[in-house]
């Protein structure tokens, strides 16, 4: 019986142990929070880049150009797509700006041009 008593921890010891671990966990919580935050940011950045790329490529590939600003909601992200005619190269070049916003903060922004003439060449090559 005496041998059995000496094995393991008593209830008091365990309670003390949990309490100490709890206190130490406060220091560890910063590390946990930082890990969770970085993971969330990383996931958001990935989604934002994918969304921006999708809408940017869609605008570049379309054969109809409409100079307008559209805002699309995708989950908790807002995608703002702006197509403008470049004044210097009228009817040749259009500026596309795609911005992915969350809580008024820009997560991703892609800027580029859509060239009507180059698209025609590629189109001709594709169909040929």
């Amino acid at each position: 019986m005496k041998r059995l008593d000496s094995k393991g921890f008593t209830l008091i010891e365990t309670i003390y142990g949990i309490a100490i671990l709890g206190i130490l966990s406060i220091a560890l919580s910063n590390l946990i929070m930082l890990t969770i935050k970085t993971y969330k940011d990383s996931k958001e950045q990935f989604n934002a880049t994918l969304l921006a790329q999708y809408y940017f490529e869609e605008k570049k590939a379309s054969y109809i150009v409409e100079t307008e600003k559209t805002v699309i909601k995708s989950g908790d992200l807002l995608v703002s797509i702006d197509v403008l005619e470049v004044e210097r190269y009228k009817e040749r070049l259009f500026k596309i700006t795609v911005e992915v916003i969350k809580d008024e903060m820009t997560l991703e922004k892609f800027e580029g041009y859509k060239s009507i003439d180059l698209q025609e060449i590629q189109h001709e090559e594709d169909s040929g």
Binding site: T38, K109, Y113
Partner: protein, 190 residues
């Protein structure tokens, strides 16, 4: 010494410290892997952004080429003095306007000058090659962006035909002069 080892008092503290150490190690590893993942996402975004910038540079260069050729054609179409010239003279004048003379910068210099671009010219790396061939010019425009030490380039090659005579010059547009255009992507290591 044996007495200290046999004494189980305070063993819970050692046990807790070991668990705490394991937890710290696990979360530090997890954090470093998430940070690495975040950095990769940022880099991925940066590469795409730069690629679109480079592509925009090429789009603008092509639009500039068409504008330049339109201006050259407008000159020939609207200038009676040019129309009275012989075919060979027209051919040479056209060639000189593309190549550039003392009074005229020529297409290559215009395309190579980063200040002529609307797009953010600090980020733009543009190279232009204009080779004179028998009846045409071979134009190669490369627009690049750097990712670390690797320089990625998107290039566009095309032929600019030189009208052989007056009749060929009539009613043509800048787009008709450009043929055999194609794109390709290159990588350059230091």
């Amino acid at each position: 010494m044996k007495k200290i080892v046999d004494n189980k008092r305070g063993a819970i503290l050692v046990f807790i410290l070991i668990i705490y150490g394991i937890l710290i190690l696990a979360f530090t590893t997890l954090l470093s892997s998430t940070v690495m993942n975040y950095k990769m996402q940022k880099m991925n975004s940066k590469i795409k952004k730069r690629f679109y910038y480079a592509e925009a540079g090429l789009d603008e260069a092509y639009a500039m080429t068409l504008e330049y050729l339109s201006a050259v054609l407008d000159y020939f179409h609207g200038n009676n003095e040019e129309n009275d010239r012989e075919d060979e003279e027209i051919y040479n004048n056209f060639k000189n306007m593309i190549k550039g003379t003392k009074d005229n910068m020529g297409l290559k210099k215009i395309l190579a000058d980063k200040d002529n671009y609307i797009i953010d010219n600090k980020k733009l790396i543009i190279n232009v090659e204009l080779k004179e061939k028998e009846n045409y010019f071979l134009l190669k425009i490369s627009s690049g962006y750097k990712t670390g030490i690797i320089l990625n380039k998107i290039s566009l090659s095309c032929k600019i035909m030189i009208p052989q005579n007056k009749t060929r010059l009539e009613g043509i547009t800048a787009k008709d002069l450009i043929t055999d255009s194609y794109w390709h992507i290159e990588k350059e290591m230091p």
